[in-house]
Structures are given as C-alpha cells and as structure tokens.
Subunit: 142 residues, 3 copies
C-alpha cells in the first residue's frame, strides 16, 4: 500500500462555501496512485466539509442562508460568547455537517457524481484578528 | 492490500429510508477480503446515507417526518426553486446527514451493532421526470 | 498493509459529550503503525461521534443544550415512544451528527488540529435499565 498525507491551506471567505474540488483532484493526481481512497479531514471546529451540488450557485447561497437562520448569533442559550457572536454558531454548524469525508477513486479519477463538488464551509464571520486560512489534511491511499 | 470498487444502483421510494444493509454485506462477501474497511459514498446531493435503528419501522418514519418538518418545502428563503419545491430541501437534508460512511469489518462480518442498519435516505419527492435510481460507490479494502 | 481492529467500551454520562481522544491515541500507539488512517465507528444509533473544541467546556454544554432544544422530548410528531421520551430524540440527534469518522495520522500522531478533541456524544437520558456503556470500533490501518 502507498500512502500520501499532505496538509494543504485553504483561504476561505466569511460564512461561505468554498469549492475545493480541483485542489483535491490535484492531490490524487500527484499521489500517482491509480485506485484507492481519499480521506479529507479538516483540522478546525468552526469550519467543516460538505459535498453538494456545483451546478447552480443559488444552492450554496440557500444552504448558507438556511443554516444561518437555523443557528443564529446572539442566541441567549449560548454561554460561550467570549470569541465573538459568530463562534458558537460556527461550532454548531460544524457539528451538523462533516469533519471528515472519504471519496474512493478508480483510474486516478475521484468517484464524485456528475453534479457533486467538495466544499469547505467557512462558518465564521470576517473579523479583525480572525484568520481564515484553514488547514485540510488530505490522505490518499491505495 | 486488495481493493474492490463497485458502483451499485439502488432503487428508492420517494422521501423514504431504504435499507441497503444486505446489499453492502453482499459486496463485502464478494470481495473475499477477510478484514478491512468498507467505505460507502453516495454520488448524489439530494439523497444521503445514515445508519439507524432497524428494529421498529416507526423510527424511520419519525426520522423522515421530523426532517420534513425541519426543512419544509416552499420556504421563502429558497432561491433555487427551478428543479421543484422538494429539491432545495433535499440538498439541505443531505447536507445534514452523510455523504460517505466507513464501516470496518472483521472475519468478513461488517462491524454494525445489533440494531444498526444502513439506509439510503431519499429526500426527493416522486415527480414525473425525476428518476429515483441512486448510484452508490462501495469501496472494500483490506 | 497492517490492520488493527478493536472494539473498546466507553462509559458515558447521560446527555453529554465524553472526550475519548486519549483512548483513540492509545489505540494508534498500540497499533505500532507509523502512518495511516484511524476510522472510528460507533455501534449504536442513540449515541454518536463528533470532533469539537476542547478548550472551553462551555462549548460542549452549549452544543448539548442547543441540540436538546432543537430535538425536544415529547414532540407529538413521534410515534416511536415505547423506549422512553428520550429515545426518538436520541435517534434524530445521532442522525444529525456522525456514526463514523476517519482521522489520518503521521509519525504515529493523530492529525487533530490544536483545539480538536473526539467526543462520544451520549444522547440518552439516564434511566433505570438503560446501560450507558457504548461500544466503539477502532480501526487502525497503514
């Protein structure tokens, strides 16, 4: 078995879905492994992973707006408030989505469906002092 | 290491949990691999995977009804409406559940608990022109 | 490839996040595998896995309280009630979080971010006759 582990940096926008599909495909190609499994693991708890439709950008906006309404800022139930009003909602949104996802590949080609893209979902708002560079561990084996 | 990748087709009913456990067990058995990991990856963004209780069918109905109430159709927040009123809710329900799941196996036997079954959760409603044949990638390695 | 599969028991408290990070690190160390992937699979449908912030305990309490409010007991939509008022909410909370998670490791060290811990989220309330010993399958390969 061959294993390739790499941590890549993803620059994200505030509260947005960031398409990282081409970055993942690059890593699978660079691994020179023909058939195997690609596991993504995000090293954060206020950003997460999802696989969603890449055709209509409105899907990504609707997802973001719906989630923002489900988990609003300044909810009086929150006691963890010292890192800003967007931090606890970001943790909850992360808990409701994915920290890791595994995508098998065959003939060097990721097994994504026709309309699927991989997104790093940034849940934090842009604030002074908050860096939005996210670390993603890409594990390719086969 | 031996790797077996196969895409299988699952015929689903509208807005329902479809038990695919025996299909997955078949693939592990056919792989002839004794010990390893079985990764399932659904190639769609309006249907998803979950592992849930298989004993009382009411659990599956309650799950479905609860989720349908959490993410109702015709929510004015949705702008992606051209594929029907059930499409954007289906994307959100998929985002809240699983796109991939990994189940280790030992002695050819999947590590599911006594009451666990694997379900393909169809989030779309039955509509003319919408096919409910879903593609599932089954990756068995060991 | 070397594979180590082990089922470990986790004693949980009622409706709480239980930090299992050190248990997982132990299994990776015991496997003596230097580089690979660690897949966790919980063999239950009323408890689940998440990876969340380990710094401020208030994050875990807020997560628990928020989820409890989203999925309250005694919801009239539930028909599966014979196992107690907390059982169907526990299934839903499990469906919204993780049944399996894969964490790559390098040089024997799990790829968790600085503030990440692995939690077994117990969704059941303490009740006479309900055992809160949970089985977790730990699969280490590399």
């Amino acid at each position: 078995m061959v294993i390739k582990n790499k941590t890549i940096l993803i620059k994200t926008g505030a509260k947005s879905l960031n398409d990282i599909t081409s970055r993942i495909k690059d890593e699978v190609r660079l691994s020179k492994i023909n058939e195997g499994n690609c596991t993504l693991f995000i090293k954060h708890t206020s950003a997460s992973l999802i696989i969603q439709e890449n055709a209509d950008p409105a899907v990504q906006e609707d997802l973001n707006n719906w989630m923002d309404r489900l988990v609003p800022e300044n909810d009086p139930i929150f006691t963890h408030v010292q890192e800003g009003p967007d931090d606890m909602p970001a943790h909850i949104k992360s808990a409701l989505t994915l920290t890791s996802v595994s995508i098998p590949f065959v003939d060097g080609s990721l097994g994504l469906g026709t309309w699927q893209a991989v997104y790093l979902w940034e849940h934090r708002a842009e604030m002074p002092g908050v860096r939005l560079d996210r670390k993603l561990l890409v594990h390719v084996s086969g």
